[in-house]
Each structure stands twice: as structure tokens, then as C-alpha cells.
């Protein structure tokens, strides 16, 4: 054990808050050998990020290491002074973060920021600072590196920013790189290239890496060993394949069950603890005669925001009554614009939107709230935190559309309707009087769904409703949506970048790229026999949970 690069022994961290001291880490032990990759997985609040920040000694003012120690290259750095830490950070021990755009200084160019790191560790030769920065940009495979030197972070895409971040982190050839959710929030294809780049650099330079992620698929694919964390404790750790093949701890088992694999169905993701939601659903067959119009039909819809390219370019598709359609694409593909067009929050430039046989594209967006169709089309937003008014209780949030759209006043009728909506969204009644900050992420997502189903809509537009949620919560929410559709016959338009989730929930699939439909068809069919190259790229990039790495072996 003495040859370990990093050794964390019984590390305890506490945060002082307004309500007293909160213990974030209850004594964790992890170790890492040179050149090894350790995955730290767990859901939000499990303490995985706190662990990495404590190792880097980057905890903010409120956080304190209250016990245990951190050994790096045999040296105890638990109480090292500022000067020692400064020499260590960025040179021997480096870190990259989630949300790379925010992690870069907005008013310094890429070159200045890379040079800053080199200069901080005396690695800069004044004469060719520029050449050094350029070499690093080449090492992270940035396209057109000369032009990127003078760019500011806001001029680069998220993936590019993460590459710049990696370039800074590896500038002084660290022996250990801590990557804290490095691909969260990036497109699937970008996720894959960033991870491939990290793995390549790690192999080339013989670095060790700690990958902190909530995504078991990612951890299983890239890590040698895994440590599973739950509420400030490491509940299980071991070699990747062995651990995921035979998870010993119930929490690991639940996580593994909730992580979608290539073949999993919604029922497979059922967490054992929530059997009520997992009860087999009896599909109510809804037969619609050939004369029934589709629930929603888009005919050659066009929208541009004045730029040289159209955000939505000639898009047509149909959703049958009670059907579920997945709209898939990467950021900038126009899927959010399209969902806003369908919700009639913005006006199309051309084309027609037909809802249940009636054209709704002619009603201007600012008057659509008066249309009787407003009730029929409701939206569930991406971020369950930001889409709820912080000063409204869950009850008020759910009651809002009922007051606005149905003119209900406070009273028994409103109470009944709100309770009914909450019940349909699986929200416990005792949570109705709570404010958003008193609810968990999953509970907030349920409030968002309850609010959307309260006016009894016929089409629910879901804009990445599970993107911000932990896997176990995601599984439950997906099952809930599926049940709403089967039991109440609500049509679903599911907007997502996650193809695997779409496959499980939706019958039909539309793939968007740069505002155009590149492929459309039955989900299963598209998955098994993708026609467009772009769809194939997207499919290959999905980080399935596949601990045995069958895919890798196949391609190798």
C-alpha cells in the first residue's frame, strides 16, 4: 500500500451552515495507484464532489476537514500551507470541472489563460509562450488551434471549453487528474470525444485519473476501479467488472438497476423500494378509426431568428392520439425552438401546426393563452429548480394554471383538482404546502408534471424533463410519464438528447440536425437499422451501462 499515489484515510468534512454543522463526509477511504483510473459514482448529495474538493483542498470557507488525512505521493497534504498547495495544484495535481464555460475566466483569452497556468509554475519560456499554448491546444485536438488562441470562452462551444480546460489542466504534466463530472451537460457525441481525449492523454502521459460521475455507463466504460458513494460514505468499492457484475450493497444494486442498458425497458429500471410505481400497467388499448385526425401534425414548419440559417427548417411530423414521439438532436439542432413552436409560445414563419384537425398556427403566440387549445397543450420544463416560482408552494404552482385557464377560485373545486393532479404525478399530499427549496429534485420534477397535467391537457411537451435528475429518480419519472400516457391517453412529445431514454418511452422518433429532420420512424426500427449517418453517430455515442464492455470488445 505504500506505493499508492493518492491515499485518502478516514477523511471527514463538515460544513458550517446557518442551521449548525452539517457533516458531508463521514470518514471515507480511497486509494489510487499511479496510472490508475478510479471512478467515484453516486447520486447528488452523496459527497463525491466534496471528496474531490477536499483532496484538492479547494473547499470553500464554510467547509472544513474535521478528521482523517490525505496522502499524495506519500506526503500528508491535509494541513499543507498555501504556498505548498499552490505549488502542487496545477502541476502535480490537477482538476477539471463540470460546466466548462463557467470554469473559464470570461474576460481572458484562451492563450492568456493557458499561459497563466504555465507561468504560475515557472514552465513558461517567455520567447515562445504562444508556441507552448499552441502545442497544448493541439494536444487536446482542438480544430484550428491558431484561431482559438485569441478566442474568449463565450465564443467557444461547451465541448471546446472543456478541451481548453483539459489543456490547462495538463499543461504542467500532472501525475493525477481529477475530473469532476467532465461531460455532464455536453451533447452525447461531444461527451464521447471528450472522454476519448481524456483516456488518450491519460495513457500517453501515464497520468492517474479520478473520474467523478453520476453516470454509471461512463464510469463502467472508462474506469479500472469504482467507489460507490452514498450520503458521505463509500458503501462499496472494487474492480469495475466485478463490482457491477455482483453488486453487494443494496444502494449499488439500486443504482445498477436504474441505469439503462442497451436492452432495458422501463419496467427493468424499477427500483425495488418503489414497487407502487413499478406495478405492471395494464395498457388500455385505444383504437382510433382511420377517420380520426392525428393529435398533432406539423406541416413544413419554418422558423428563423434572423440569422443566416434557419433554426427550424421545413419540419413535418405527426403524433397520433395518445401517441408518444421522441424528438432527438444535439444542442443547436432546433429541438427546443420546435417545442416552443408547438406550445405556441413563438410564431412559425411558415408552415402549419394542426392540433386535432384544427390549425393553431394562425393564432398569434401572444393571444394563444385565450385560445381553448391552450389547456390542451402543456409543457414540462427542463430544469425543475428554475421553472418553479420560489415563493409559491407546490399547491400554488399546481393551482396556477387552473386559476388562469379555468378560472377556478379558491375553494373545494380547486382543492380537488390540485389533489387529483398531484396524485396523478405521484406527489405525496403532505408535500403540497412546501416551497420548492424544501423539495428534492425528483419531487420538484413531480410538481412540474402535476402543474402541466392539472388542466387535463391532451398533449404534454416535455423538454428534457430528466436531464437534471439522478438516474434512480429519472427511472421513476419515466415510468410515471409512461403511466400517464397509458392510463389517461395523454399524447407525449419528448424532447431529449438521450436516445436511450427516448427509445424506452416513445413509439416514434424524429432525429433533428441543424433544424432539419434527418431521420424519422418507429423507435425500435431506427435503433436497430439507423438510415442516416448522423443517427448512427448519435447511437454509437450513447454511454450505455455495459460493465463487461461487450461493445468495446466487438469494435476492438
Amino acid at each position: 500500500m505504500t506505493a499508492q499515489l493518492l491515499q485518502v484515510e478516514n477523511l471527514q468534512v463538515a460544513f458550517s451552515t446557518r442551521h449548525g454543522t452539517v457533516t458531508a463526509l463521514h470518514g471515507i477511504d480511497i486509494a489510487l495507484a499511479a496510472g490508475e483510473t478510479l471512478g467515484v459514482v453516486g447520486e447528488s448529495g452523496s459527497g463525491k464532489s466534496v471528496t474531490s474538493l477536499a483532496v484538492m483542498r479547494l473547499l470553500d470557507r464554510a467547509g472544513k476537514i474535521t478528521g482523517g488525512r490525505v496522502l499524495f505521493e506519500g506526503r500528508d497534504i491535509t494541513h499543507a500551507g498555501h504556498a505548498d498547495l499552490r505549488r502542487l495544484r496545477g502541476s502535480a495535481l490537477s482538476m477539471i470541472f463540470q460546466n466548462p464555460r463557467a470554469a473559464l475566466n470570461p474576460i481572458r483569452t484562451v492563450e492568456q489563460q493557458i499561459v497563466d497556468v504555465l507561468a504560475a509554475h515557472g514552465r513558461l519560456s517567455r520567447a515562445n509562450a504562444r508556441a507552448q499554448a499552441l502545442d497544448l491546444l493541439r494536444a487536446v485536438l482542438i480544430r484550428d488551434p491558431e484561431a482559438r488562441l485569441g478566442a474568449y470562452p463565450h465564443e467557444l462551444s461547451g465541448g471546446m471549453c472543456q478541451r481548453v480546460m483539459i489543456a490547462m489542466a495538463i499543461a504542467c504534466e500532472p501525475v493525477l487528474l481529477i475530473a469532476d463530472e467532465p461531460t455532464t451537460g455536453l451533447d452525447v457525441t461531444t461527451q464521447q470525444t471528450v472522454m476519448e481525449l481524456l483516456a488518450r492523454i491519460k495513457a500517453e502521459r501515464g497520468m492517474a485519473m479520478i473520474l467523478i460521475t453520476h453516470d454509471l455507463g461512463l464510469a463502467a466504460r472508462w474506469c479500472d476501479r469504482i467507489a460507490v458513494m452514498e450520503s458521505g460514505r463509500v458503501v462499496e468499492q472494487g474492480e469495475t467488472v466485478a463490482l457491477f457484475e455482483a453488486p453487494a450493497h443494496p444502494y449499488t444494486r439500486r443504482l445498477v438497476a436504474a441505469s439503462p442498458t442497451r436492452r432495458s425497458t422501463l419496467a427493468d429500471l424499477a427500483p425495488p423500494g418503489l414497487a407502487r410505481d413499478a406495478a405492471p400497467v395494464v395498457t388500455v388499448p385505444r383504437e382510433h378509426g382511420p377517420g380520426t385526425p392525428p393529435l398533432l401534425e406539423l406541416v413544413n414548419v419554418v422558423k428563423s431568428f434572423g440569422g443566416p440559417t434557419r433554426a427550424v427548417d421545413d419540419v413535418s411530423f405527426k403524433i397520433p392520439q395518445g401517441g408518444a414521439l421522441g424528438l432527438v438532436g444535439e444542442s443547436g439542432s432546433g429541438k427546443s425552438t420546435l417545442s416552443r413552436l408547438i406550445c405556441r409560445l413563438i410564431d412559425p414563419d411558415d408552415g402549419d401546426i394542426v392540433f386535432d384537425g384544427e390549425s393553431i398556427a394562425r393564432v398569434p403566440a401572444r393571444e394563444f393563452h385565450q385560445s381553448p387549445r391552450r389547456r390542451d397543450i402543456q409543457i414540462v420544463f427542463q430544469d425543475p429548480n428554475d421553472s418553479l416560482n420560489p415563493r409559491h408552494t407546490a399547491f400554488d404552482s399546481i393551482a396556477y394554471p387552473l386559476r388562469r385557464l379555468e378560472g377556478l377560485r379558491d375553494g373545494a373545486a380547486l382543492q380537488t383538482r390540485v389533489r387529483e393532479a398531484a396524485a396523478r404525478a405521484g406527489l405525496p399530499m403532505d408535500l403540497l404546502q412546501r416551497f420548492p427549496h424544501q423539495l428534492s429534485g425528483g419531487q420538484k420534477a413531480r410538481v412540474g408534471i402535476a402543474r402541466a397535467v392539472a388542466p387535463r391537457p391532451r398533449l404534454l411537451v416535455l423538454d428534457e424533463p430528466t436531464a437534471a435528475l439522478d438516474v434512480s429518480v429519472q427511472a421513476v419519472i419515466l415510468q410515471l410519464l409512461d403511466r400517464l400516457r397509458r392510463e389517461d391517453g395523454i399524447g407525449l412529445l419528448f424532447v431529449s438528447h438521450d436516445l436511450n431514454v427516448v427509445r424506452m418511452l416513445c413509439d416514434d422518433l424524429v432525429v433533428l440536425q441543424a433544424g432539419r429532420v434527418v431521420e424519422a420512424g418507429r423507435s425500435q426500427q431506427v435503433f436497430q437499422r439507423p438510415q442516416a449517418d448522423y443517427t448512427r453517430t448519435l447511437l454509437e455515442a450513447v454511454p450505455y451501462f455495459d460493465p463487461q464492455r461487450t461493445e468495446l470488445l466487438k469494435t476492438a
Binding site: 474576460i107 481572458r108 490547462m168
Partner: protein, 341 residues
């Protein structure tokens, strides 16, 4: 880039014309409806007869209906004639060009002193929130805001002129027995420097210091508090954590990373503070007998002397527009995320 900035400046200046027009009309009407008759005020004396006053009123054009007066006034403003002051007997433009540099010199120096102290104070408070330093800075700021400028001005005079004798006689821009510099820019400090008369420069500077400090004290609070708040926000942001993770030195993180970002909102506040100071420094000008535009306008207002007041308001509005455009341009240069177009 430069063409973009110029286009932007041009557009902003054009867009401000309706506002300036509104200011001219409103002040004109306001002056007319306020009680007080200039003809009575400027007639030969309390014994002046009705005929004399009527005659005076006719010669001043005050016997016409207000709309007619307004149109005539607008025509004159458009040709650059702002009228004649009844008190000084000089054209208002002449009075203003003589007095404006005095006000600007005072305001600019005061703003400079305020920034010189408030930014380090704000940064120090933000680096150690909740500690003694933070509380001392907060107390200083509170004191600066709640003591009226004429009180703090008098206190400074009492301490530095009367008790300590460090400051010169606090009247005017320069000692009455010393000679003023040649009129090049109207800013004494610049004119003395251009002439190479450093003794004179020092005399003017020591004369300027007390009133400038009085004004600086007053605006210390908004600047320091803004610096503190914005510095705290920036220090908590992700890229500062990155800078720490990359092992950058503490000084570099605070100055090049945190402060440069934190100064952006301070820049906006500085523009507002400057405009406010220029108009609100009348008390300071009165206390220190400073021959500036604000005290000039106040005297004119008390004397129902229409032309200088109207000109003063127009001047302030124009300066406000100019300051805002300047801040806009500076902001565009300091923050690459602001598009120039």
C-alpha cells in the same frame, strides 16, 4: 472594432436628442409656472413704477404667450444662443465656459479620490467578509453617506484649516493674491502643469483637496459597497475555483481574475455617481466658495433668472448623455462578451 464603436456612439447620441428636447421644454415651462417675476426682481428697486416693470417685461419678451416664448427660445437654443444672465449681465454661454471647468475639475478629482479609496476598501472587505475589516469599511461608508456634505465640508475646514493649519484658506480655486494660470483648458491643474509653474500647481492642488475630499466622502459608500458585492460574487464563481485549482498565485487571482471581472458593474455605478456628483455638488461649491456651475445655477434660480437655470439643466442633461455613452464604450472594451454592433 473602431468603426463599430463609432457607429454605436453615433446611434446613442442621435437617440438622446428627443430626451434633450424634452428636458429643454420641461425646464422652460417649469421656470415659467414657478412663482417669481424676473421683471420685478431686476427692476431698479422696490420703488419702481408699474410702467418701468411693464417696459422691462416687454424688453425681456415676457409679455408674449408662453408657447410663443417657447418657440423663440427653441430657435435660439438651436443656434447656440442660450440667452443672457440678468445677474452677471454676461451671455450664459460665456459664464458657463468659465465656470464649467471649475466644476469638472472638482468632480473629476473627487471621483478619482473616491475610486482610489473605495476600490481597495471594497476588495479588502470582500476578501475577509464578516471580519473587523469588513465592519470598519461598512462603518466608514455609512458615515460618509449620512453626514451631509456641508457638515463634513465644514468639519474638514475646521480640522485642517482652523486647527491644524495644513490647508490654505478654503475660498475659491486659488489664493486671492496668487495669479491664475493662463486660460488654456480652464482646468487649473492642467494649465499650471502646461506652463511648468509647479508652485502654482501645488497652490491650486492644495486648494482643491478639501472640497474634493468632502465630495469623495459622500460617494465612497456606493462605490465601495458595489465593489464589495461584486467582488464577493466573482470570488465565489467557478473560474476563481479553477484558478486556485491551477495553482495561480493569490495576488494574480485577486487582481487579474477577480478584480478585473468585479470592476465591470463598478464601472456602471461610477457613471451614475459622476453624473449625480456634478449636479449635487452645489453644497460643496457653496461651502468652499467654489466658482462652479452648480452654485451659479442656484444663484440664478433664487433670482428668477431664467436663462442660466435653463442652460444649466440642458448642460447637465448633455453631460449625463456623454457620460453614459462613454461608460458604454468602456464597458464594451472591458468585457468581450458585449457585442460592439
Amino acid at each position: 472594432m473602431l468603426a463599430g464603436i463609432l457607429r454605436r456612439v453615433g446611434r446613442r447620441l442621435l437617440a438622446s436628442i428627443p430626451a434633450l428636447f424634452g428636458v429643454v421644454v420641461v425646464t422652460f415651462v417649469l421656470m415659467r409656472v414657478l412663482p417669481g417675476d424676473p421683471a420685478v426682481f431686476f427692476s431698479s428697486g422696490p420703488s419702481a413704477g408699474k410702467e418701468e416693470i411693464e417696459e422691462l417685461r416687454r424688453s425681456m419678451g415676457l409679455d408674449r404667450p408662453i408657447p410663443v416664448q417657447l418657440v423663440r427660445y427653441l430657435g435660439e437654443v438651436a443656434t447656440g444662443n442660450l440667452g443672457r444672465s440678468m445677474t452677471t449681465g454676461q451671455p450664459v454661454v460665456v459664464d458657463m465656459t468659465r465656470r464649467l471647468p471649475a466644476s469638472l475639475e472638482l468632480t473629476c478629482t473627487a471621483l478619482f479620490i473616491a475610486l482610489l479609496f473605495s476600490i481597495p476598501l471594497g476588495v479588502a472587505a470582500a476578501l475577509r467578509p464578516g471580519t473587523a475589516i469588513d465592519h470598519i469599511v461598512r462603518m466608514l461608508c455609512t458615515l460618509g453617506v449620512c453626514v451631509p456634505t456641508f457638515v463634513s465640508g465644514l468639519l474638514l475646514i475646521y480640522a485642517f484649516y482652523y486647527l491644524l493649519g495644513w490647508a490654505p484658506d478654503p475660498t475659491g480655486r486659488i489664493d486671492i493674491f496668487a495669479s491664475a494660470p493662463p486660460d488654456i483648458t480652464g482646468f487649473f491643474l492642467i494649465d499650471f502643469a502646461l506652463k511648468g509653474d509647479w508652485e502654482g500647481w501645488w497652490a491650486a492642488f492644495s486648494q482643491l483637496l478639501l472640497p474634493a475630499c468632502t465630495m469623495a466622502l459622500f460617494v465612497l459608500a456606493p462605490l465601495a459597497r458595489m465593489t464589495r458585492a461584486s467582488m464577493l460574487a466573482v470570488l465565489g464563481s467557478d473560474f476563481i475555483r479553477t484558478a486556485h485549482a491551477m495553482g495561480l498565485s493569490r495576488l494574480r487571482i485577486i487582481v487579474a481574475y477577480a478584480l478585473r471581472n468585479a470592476l465591470l458593474p463598478v464601472l456602471t455605478i461610477t457613471g451614475i455617481v459622476f453624473s449625480t456628483m456634478l449636479g449635487a455638488n452645489v453644497l460643496v461649491e457653496k461651502v468652499f466658495s467654489w466658482p462652479g456651475v452648480a452654485s451659479y445655477a442656484l444663484d440664478a434660480l433664487l433670482a428668477s433668472d431664467y436663462a442660466p437655470v435653463q442652460a444649466f439643466v440642458l448642460l447637465m442633461a448633455m453631460i449625463f448623455v456623454m457620460v453614459n455613452v462613454t461608460i458604454d464604450v468602456l464597458y464594451g472594451i472591458a468585457d468581450p462578451r458585449v457585442s460592439v454592433a
